[in-house]
Symmetry: D2
Subunit: 342 residues, 4 copies
């Protein structure tokens, strides 16, 4: 059994990790920390876990994280980088669901996240946990930077196009829409029900922290610099991201075949038939990215539609997928949930 | 022109007052206070008011409330009672949308609201602003206690039954459902979109502050003590209250006629035809309470369905209605909005 | 492997059966019928099943249902009763998710369902599939009448009270609220998004088909006639039922202990701690009924709150639970999903 | 008083016309037709109109439309073109809220709408009712083609950019999101609550009927051919359209000033301050298009955000605005509703 610790279990990625790991046959949950809620049974805060998770929140000090095999950080940005080195030194694998280790250019990271990085050398070592790109590196990693939600949907959507070198790389656009759980379980006015329900808006149009993360990935796929415009929107879903991607393709290429071939061996990426439009609810609760490729008549504009559940393939599910790879388990262990429709 | 001031303009009852008053032909908005947001144009916080309300928030000190004709308190409980006497002394009428002056039994009020009352004598003087009961008293009032949202829906629903003395008064039940805006515009976790959407729950089953307010009214209607059970629920609406009322009626009485007769002269209470079920959306944005009366076959149980928009007939609309009465205007001035359906 | 057929796979109970059975380790899906969609791969209609269910819809004639071990009817009322005898004669077990076999009084059934019953003798034989009451009978059954959604929530909520004989049985009330999927996947105007979203209403106040089903159960529990008032409401949830139950209890009884004791061995009924309020989302996707018992101060009124997912414990999940019992499997096989929160 | 008739009053644009016209001081509602519902009081179908609209639906034959001053068609495509000539001949003005007269190229119209046009000569005569472009022509028109919802939001968003000639016209993109009421009040499965709630998807990516309508407008603004990509999405709002527009601008132009200047005299277009993001709820129920212009750092990509209420500025409100212009009334008569927030 893999001994698992979770740091920061009171947010949405935390409770989602618990929902998935509660049924993982190879996992023993050892500790879930929350300084603020220490002592409270986890199932008192999240009653869906009643009868399934018996643990109480503990303080980081008493949690015994260094005796775990792997520790997930489901914390705000900037927490994992303070505690990772000690855990690695104790032989514990670390999977960070926050952004601390995602961007290789530390100066860039510091600009966007407005803090000094505590361990730039570990950024170098960290493996970006997008299995469809980095599966082999993940197997051998000590430290995994779990991708952001938007970056997962957008990168998987652009990947075949850029790898194949058939898109104009100067004017890539991602118009992305996220459910409200993507903003976290924070007491903030703008994500109240009475503010976000029956409402749609763009936000962070001037610059969003996922922009440099996505751009970094796209440039790796393209093998050079890209021009990339990213506009995120808030839509009244609990869960779900829908990314609509625009790129110009001059070559006369069979895009459907290109996408199907690229993902033929990927259990968690589903290329839909030509003409289809993926719905976010088809992946609700499931660790799947569903993609469709379109080209409007007589136009060189390609439109890629990519959907994920931001808390599953966009966070906790992908983290469990990374853990499964890391420990040599079947990659879909505890990740076989079918999307909840309706 | 009636010079109007609003204390506490950053909540939902505040912005709803502004929405209604912005089109009131006899009103001049003089000041909207918010210590925290002083200096910010109101329309920057509430962009629906762009081009319609030019005022900025001001501090209470600079607002010049004592030069107004009427001041609305759209504040948390306990604020109005601190400032009301000075305004009354300056000849200003006061309409409190909070609970400070609603319950005549000050000891009971203090028990439920967990604070000492600052001016018990003004509680005595205050008129409970339910026009369908107290229209004449409202005309002559200096200080109006605007009813709560649940109390408006429940009292108007039970009123004809209790006035007519045909219901068993020992076992009255109100099973009430409220939209989330009823909880206010407060940064609290349990009313986040991702918590309250696609979710339904009861709350405060052990005791809700509107219970004594409703009971006080029901006992006035019934002319004696009543037994009253109240269970509020949170439902994923932005606006709307639906109260389902249960009472036993032994007499063989024509309830439909009873209700129609009682409300025949009331512009803002609509008794629906026999068999109908009012929908909350039929009163969305409108200052209307819509009621239907049902009796299941072969049963002595009467079921009354009563819906309002909690922010309009349940708060700001009723407050404007009270102001109209107070200043001798047509009662429906600025209150002619048709419910927004769909 | 249990060979399973599903008649009527295009509705919400059908796709939910598929979601659950797709991961059932002891089940082999043999056929899903839909005369209208025959030939279409099931996953084309329900893309959440892509890669998980390879079957196409077939006509009833070509489905080979008589070679199955068990057939689920996820059909409109009146279909199962036409086909059940032939299946039973062929040695196939039948689980009907519709209402054909739920009500023992055939005349009463015919009055509410407005059709003649095709096989009254089979109504006699059918076992009402509420495992918490009829587990032993289910084990030995050939034909199971899977309970309705409201009836499951309401009966499990009242059961301990009535079995213990501590409630006044003449004035039982169930104020029930259902998500919109309870109305089925039918092209009808009143359940359109733009009609049902941000809206709350009662319906069928004059009489709902689940009333006689519930009453039948309550009278069995109480051992005699009961007076029962039932008011269903439509609330903007996709899934979920919340039943708020009212009963008068004169005896001085420890209700919390009573409920905990009654359900202590039931894996799918969770009695919450005193003072709690169950949320529908805590059972979203899970085969659980979560219950809390309340008593307001100084009142003899007991309030029971009972929540289920109408498609799981209220339909497809309970049907799978019945199948597991019928075939001697662990009762929770394929039913271990944790409620999806958020 | 202007005598008004409405053909097809049972859909969302019909009831919205009624909501607005019920308070129009210069309008007398003469007839609302619905062959199917003839005889039923309008307020029985739409209870928000109880006490406000006394009319019953009538058949077209008995409606006396030819005695009206103006007739609105709130009908499916293809109806207005059959009846318009007779009305015009009788001296009645016609405002068509459907698409019959929007596209000048009749062959193109026939291709997209898959029917033969009944009166191509009237297409020529019809004035496209976007007041911000065609106010003078509207004043003199007999027949007005009221713009589509997407076309209103997208054209007003691109207008200043294209008129000023500062955008690259070959690669214009509109990524548009619509609330579900945009699909009409039709009994169709895909717009059921349980299908469309908590779900987001693109649709008609291969080609949407509003594409040629928008393109026609953009080419007029630009004075030449444009390349235009349009991707519509369905988002779980009742009302609201959010268009996110992408264009490349090489010139060093002050876009904020450009937009503010273009719309400075337009009462129903609100250019927000630099950096703002308009929310659909800020225009809920209001006849306003709210626009913001953004440019990401170091990029030549301009992003325009444009929101409307699809039933108001995108349909019924704009139709009333056109009527006001047509009859020489103040353009904002009956159009002063403030957006309903929350």
């Amino acid at each position: 059994m893999i001994k698992v610790g979770i740091v920061g279990g009171t947010g949405y990625t935390g409770v989602e990790l618990l929902r998935l790991l509660a049924r993982h046959p190879e996992v023993e949950l050892k500790a879930i920390t929350s300084r603020k809620e220490a002592g409270m049974p986890v199932a008192d805060m999240f009653p869906n876990l009643r009868g399934r998770v018996g643990l109480a929140f503990s303080t980081p000090e008493e949690a015994g994280l260094e005796t775990c095999d792997v520790v997930f950080f489901a914390t705000p940005n900037g927490v994992a980088m303070q505690q990772t080195r000690a855990l690695l030194d104790a032989g514990v694998k670390v999977i960070d669901l926050a952004a601390d280790f995602r961007i290789k250019d530390v100066a860039e990271w510091q600009k966007w996240y407005k803090m000094e990085h505590a361990c730039p050398d570990l950024v170098d070592e960290a493996v970006y946990g997008l299995p469809e790109i980095n599966r082999d590196k993940i197997k051998a990693a000590r430290l995994i930077a779990n991708p952001g939600c938007y970056p997962t949907a957008v990168q998987l959507g652009f990947l075949p196009l850029l790898e194949a070198g058939v898109a104009e790389t100067g004017t890539l656009i991602a118009d992305a829409k996220s459910g409200v759980s993507g903003a976290g379980r924070k007491a903030e006015t703008h994500i109240l029900f009475a503010e976000a329900a029956d409402n749609f808006k763009a936000y962070a149009v001037g610059g969003h922290r996922h922009w440099p993360e996505i751009k970094q990935g796209l440039e790796i796929f393209a093998g050079g610099p890209v021009g990339f415009t990213f506009v995120p929107h808030l839509t009244p879903l609990i869960r779900g991201i829908h990314a609509t991607l625009y790129a110009r393709v001059s070559a006369d290429v069979d895009l459907q075949a290109l996408y199907e071939k690229r993902y033929t061996d990927e259990a968690f990426v589903d290329v839909m038939p030509a003409g289809a439009c993926p719905e976010t609810r088809s992946v609700r609760g499931a660790n799947v990215c569903r993609i469709a490729v379109h080209r409007q008549q007589g136009s060189d504009m390609v439109i890629v539609l990519s959907v994920i559940d931001n808390l599953v393939k966009g966070a906790a599910g992908q983290a469990v997928q990374n853990m499964n790879i890391l420990f040599g388990l079947a990659e879909d262990t505890a990740l076989s949930d079918v999307g909840m429709l309706p």
